[in-house]
Symmetry: C2
Subunit: 362 residues, 2 copies
Amino acid sequence: METVKVDLGERSYPIYIGADLLGETALIRRHIDGNQVAVITNEIVAPLYLEALRASLGGLSVDVFTLPDGEQHKNLQSFGSIMDFLIARRHNRTTTLIALGGGVVGDICGFVAATFQRGVNFLQVPTTLLAQVDSSVGGKTAVNHPQGKNLIGAFYQPQCVLADTSVLSSLGKREFSAGLAEVAKYGVIADAEFFAWIADAADRLIARDDQALSYAVRRSCEIKADVVARDERESGVRAILNFGHTFGHALESLTGYQALLHGEAVAIGMVMAADLSARVGWLSLDAAQRIKQLVARLGLPVCPPALSNADMLQAMGMDKKVLDGKLRLVLATRIGEVVIADDFAASELDATLSAGNSLCDG
Amino acid sequence: METVKVDLGERSYPIYIGADLLGETALIRRHIDGNQVAVITNEIVAPLYLEALRASLGGLSVDVFTLPDGEQHKNLQSFGSIMDFLIARRHNRTTTLIALGGGVVGDICGFVAATFQRGVNFLQVPTTLLAQVDSSVGGKTAVNHPQGKNLIGAFYQPQCVLADTSVLSSLGKREFSAGLAEVAKYGVIADAEFFAWIADAADRLIARDDQALSYAVRRSCEIKADVVARDERESGVRAILNFGHTFGHALESLTGYQALLHGEAVAIGMVMAADLSARVGWLSLDAAQRIKQLVARLGLPVCPPALSNADMLQAMGMDKKVLDGKLRLVLATRIGEVVIADDFAASELDATLSAGNSLCDG
């Protein structure tokens, strides 16, 4: 097992990474104060891992709330249902919530933890690669609004993150690749050497080689923890973690959160962001090409679905990085370095949005 | 104008107290960063004070959301409606919310501010005495759940509190007295001298004498700010601010949040807490009597409505101070000092709950 620390003063916490961590009773119990626990999970994950987690919670009073699967359930209605459940089961301020699942479960459970009785403790037990390398780390919690992703939420840190790499073997191919999109992102935004390693290790990653996976999760968490420690509430540098996400969120929103997995939307979004970065002359065409090639190499889509530029611009305008009406995007200057910029010409953004299928060309 | 500082490190903020502050443009604008503002108010307050506030916001883009009046609207549905409104009007992370109203408006607006796009700035402009001395200060934000008050919320501090004492002249008699209940509470929990001053100044307070009111608001805010600075998230001493509130919340909940104003429920709750404090032998009968007399003197009810002990105990059991199933109450040891206790006999609590109309006797 390896431990990455997220350094946030009194809100610091460890990320544990390794095989078979769900069975590490002592490790888990160390982060539970009271005798009440509520596990928030979903219908896909529960049959696979709930019993293993339960076995590590012996002696505690454990309630389980099971969500339906899917991003479309990450909304205020599910939030309200979990609140009703906790209140009906008389959970109080000393309860500990445990998010057992992917990003949807982690985000909504975290938001419930942030707001139930004005905040209770919670543990993140991410069961997808995407959640292990991204959404479970850093304290972003939220639900979606019909008009946009994560528009209602809070910054709220867990007591720990338990990234059990053994559970990744049960992921479907698409979902697994979606997680690799975020891994590739860390290379682009912060670490050219890691980017090169991912390209080199792509086959081993896709084959879910234990050692390659553990390293990918650890290095991703290290980069994320470092960025989050410098800017917990995203007043500045943390926005670089959103490379590809403004495009990606718009794609998800316009396709009803169903056609694309989040990681797939981010994958296409990174290709679009790289394309725009090259158009404005900040990124070499070669580097933009390398980003696209790695995305494709990891089994991810690179072509945006057919959407009008007007719809995309409208959807991107709802992004949280919009400042007083001005769209800001994370653009790459080289592999391993990005900037947050609003000084690109509207015509260049338009050209990227119009590129459409030409982005698909190798 | 007087200024009381709430000392919370990087989350510190001033409370401004004085007449005609709604017209202090420069003072208000100092706390607004972007050019977007959303005023959250209600149907009673808007006709009285919205234009005065608007006049101080010239040049900014101002949207207004008007809630119906009443505690029954402080719920997740109203929360969702305000979110819909902000998103429809394309507010973004740099927007500033302004809560113009009493405790309901302040609590719900604060919770929206805490969670819209994971947190935006907000200003508290409390228009009731209760909100000026209590709910607008200290960062407690929330909405109610059918099973209990403030069960869903966050600790989230405003940029400033603007307590314009001029607006108190328009309050109805009941609502004004309800605010005095919290003023009296500060005397009981922290300052015997202030308690004596309130008793002495009761006539002037009820007549809304400007000087007496300003002093009552300032001293109340000082005591609250001091407690909050020592324990922002209520892990300990902050709970003393809840003197009378566990009884009071149960009374409100069991009467559907409509029969009693919050301050009236707290008034009765303080009489019940004083009664229990005397029954367990921690408070002199004389002091309990003085508390009851002051409550009555301020135009507040002292008798609980007819409710069964079983219902009261069930409702009190939902209180956020319950720890692993054990009910904790704030009880007085003398005027000016309280303790947080769970070591009272169930039979004594039962006796207080059974006392009913005998509490009404002078």
